[in-house]
Symmetry: C3
Subunit: 215 residues, 3 copies
Amino acid sequence: MKPPVINFSTLQSAVEIAATLAFALSGLLAGARKQLDVVGLCVVAGLSAFGGGTLRDVLLDRRPFFWVEHADWLWALMALSFSAMLFMRRRHLALTERAIQWPDALGLGLFTANGTLVALDAGMPAIVAVLMGVITATFGGVLRDIVCNEIPAAFHDHRPYALCSFVGGWVVVAAVALGAPQWATISTAAATAVLLRGLALWRGYTLPAWRIAKR
Amino acid sequence: MKPPVINFSTLQSAVEIAATLAFALSGLLAGARKQLDVVGLCVVAGLSAFGGGTLRDVLLDRRPFFWVEHADWLWALMALSFSAMLFMRRRHLALTERAIQWPDALGLGLFTANGTLVALDAGMPAIVAVLMGVITATFGGVLRDIVCNEIPAAFHDHRPYALCSFVGGWVVVAAVALGAPQWATISTAAATAVLLRGLALWRGYTLPAWRIAKR
Amino acid sequence: MKPPVINFSTLQSAVEIAATLAFALSGLLAGARKQLDVVGLCVVAGLSAFGGGTLRDVLLDRRPFFWVEHADWLWALMALSFSAMLFMRRRHLALTERAIQWPDALGLGLFTANGTLVALDAGMPAIVAVLMGVITATFGGVLRDIVCNEIPAAFHDHRPYALCSFVGGWVVVAAVALGAPQWATISTAAATAVLLRGLALWRGYTLPAWRIAKR
């Protein structure tokens, strides 16, 4: 009898689950701040986790969606939203926000790599594929913010977020052009985006600002 | 010569027309409060009435949309918006809001039943089909509120609305699994959602709130 | 050797480029007012320029999108957003707003004509085709305003904008019904919408207002 092997795809699944949960939690935090009810919490959690990929699939005319193929996730998300409502208190908010920064960055990297690959597979030109990667990684949060009646943080907080995803997308394009195997493509691209995001968080980088903006 | 027979589908059509008008009126009320111009009024009325079903059809990749197949409705909607603008006064607002609560609840029930059935027909898993029913019934109002720059009431007013729709959707799933005829499925599911909504309105039920929310 | 001929389609291309740039600039102005970062600027510029046509294509289930077929435009848009950020100052804002009114009106006319034709080609009924033309011409701006967390100006500023597009769309329907050649259809319809918009700007026409609105 062989011991269980932790291979790349098991590792990838584990990271993806952590990343999706981080995205969902970011939705729950935003919903809590806006005092949404339990229905609203489920919706913003779901939009944050699956909105980006769903929008990409609508644009690429791809079916089935992730959450149709893996409908169990919808139950998990509802359970998460209920638990958050039952067990989370005000003092947990800032803590959670800090705790999800890293899995959120992981999600940014993985969703970018995955989204760009899917779009390349669908025959999109490089720049479109990269934008699809960025959409996959960031538009969950954008839709969350629109529903919460805020200007999307990805467009407004002057922190590199979509930009890290954009660079990661080009790494995918380059790796595919060089004929790299898929696991190498995904891990290099995701690592690039994650490290850039981590660097930006650690050093407090800001995006070049418009002088009009007076910030 | 036989007298006209009021059969189930005639009745259903009449109820559907009342429900769609109620949804459109809810859009007009929201638009009036935000002082939209006549173009905006037509858009929010149309979004409220057809937005949920259209979003469901985009997600299911189904065509034609209801308002493409029954394009006459678009004229009716524009006529309604113009008439509202010409004849409605401030003192009519609260009155209309109260008057549409019941047809709106009917719409919630019927759109849920219809949307869930359509999604089951398209081969969706049960939980996805129920969500499609909820989207059909509630996302018209959600899009209306997003356009009006408000947090969607369905996520924020702590009243059971989408939840009634969710329960109604499961009634559809159960009835289909039991092999019930379509008219029985639709009327049972719609009645469940309508009665729950009515009960919630009558007794002033609120959704379980997050303690963070301090309401 | 013949001199280069400026024929209808060259002229149309030139006008289309001007119109698309005007739409993108309207996005940049809105983004600047909301102090978006460079990522947000690119997104609102892109939404303003391509959002309407993309939404129409999603509704009509048409692929590829304009910006997938002509992916170079995406680079042009990013370059425009960067240049605006580098070279535009506060005093340029009002100037730009005034300068883009005419190319924006051109865009309104051309996008309407084009969008209505595309929808008629797809077999839509007349009223739906006209609405698709209006969506093509105006929903870029609507999505821009939603992302910027504003009530869409097209629904709220009481100026004829979508209405001019609506009239232009019916000109397309009439011209197609009369068997007019495509260049005549497009130029008549676009000219109608542009002139109406120009007239409305020049004379300061406002849309009939709801008395509730007290403006």
